[in-house]
Amino acid sequence: MENIDKKLREEAKRLLEEKRVDALVGYETGTLPLTATPCFITNPEDAEKLVWNALCTQNLAKYVHDLISQHRESQKRVKPEDRKKKVFGVVARGCTTRSIILHLQERQYARDEIVIIGVPCTGYVDRKQLSILVNGEDIQEGALEGDQLVVKTIAGEKRIPLQDALSGNCLTCKFNNPVICDVMIGEKAPAIAGAAQEYAEVEAFENLSTEERWAYFTKEMAKCIRCYACRQACPSCYCRICFVEQSQPQWVGLGEDATDTQVFQLMRLFHMVGRCVDCGSCISVCPMGVDLRKFLKKLDKDVLELFESRAGASMEDVPPLSIFKEHDKEDFIFNP
């Protein structure tokens, strides 16, 4: 990993020095032990801050979208002849590149407005899982040593295999290498062993009875405090005005009624049809640990089954909900 960090920094520095990018989005070491946090770099000297390891969690495509739309917004107040184009660099793993493809397909920005630095990925650490592994103790110090995490808590030092602490979506990931990139750092990562069981969890859930499924849904949604962190972290959630904040019409009530929360989650989840790349950002930021993946993965599975399409799987794809094919299944249509 040392080697990858070095190459990444060199590449980032070069891109900034040659002015091929105006700003670069990457990860730096976080302030808490065993964390990495997104960072924005404009000065070539600061490229030394960059890191790439299993602690880098968030999908950076979200920040790319934010930066580009903010820049465009700022250019509206500038005389047309003085308007500047800005190019943003991004450190991207597989799921991040999928989100970028999704943005490009949805015409959010142009390909020449971004430079993608591809990095191989073998999965990231799930903080909640890590917390369970150390019995909820406060992590005082920590280090990543090869395929092991060395964690120091009040109870003493503990070595945890990295594999045990990986996030659920990473264990069954099929896109752990960048789908598109301008520069690739390091070798491609080997395929993830669990990728074949990608939908195992969804299939098990499908086999439960309707009442059991409803009970699980209500139980999970009862945890939700509607902080909207999932929406803020999701790269596919980029509406300027989200339906939850609209007041005319008001789609969802703002009180603490359980059905309002269920409807909010239901609508947000359903906006992800053919758009969720399973990066796990929403789950990792959720302070209440709502099992959103169980539902998001179902949407992914259905779109693959019905329309043979996956979000951001290739640049040539057309968003599945914007086309129609003759052999689409029609069993959902009611014909008495």
Partner: protein, 60 residues
């Protein structure tokens, strides 16, 4: 687009535990009076069999 959206919506609502028969979708032309009547009869029969909805109902 509505067609594809509906196909996924019906499956998804069923998945989270709403009775699949509560979400019904079909096409009826303005000239198909008899078909319209049949569809509505079918819908009411299905809903009657399920009884009043208890899920996602907001009580004020």
């Amino acid at each position: 687009m509505a067609r594809r959206k509906f196909a996924t919506l019906k499956r998804f609502l069923d998945y989270i535990g709403l009775e699949g028969d509560r979400t019904i979708f079909t096409w009826i032309s303005a000239s198909e009076g008899e078909r319209f009547a049949n569809v509505i009869k079918g819908v009411t029969a299905k809903v009657r069999a399920l009884g009043p909805a208890s899920k996602l109902v907001k009580k004020l």
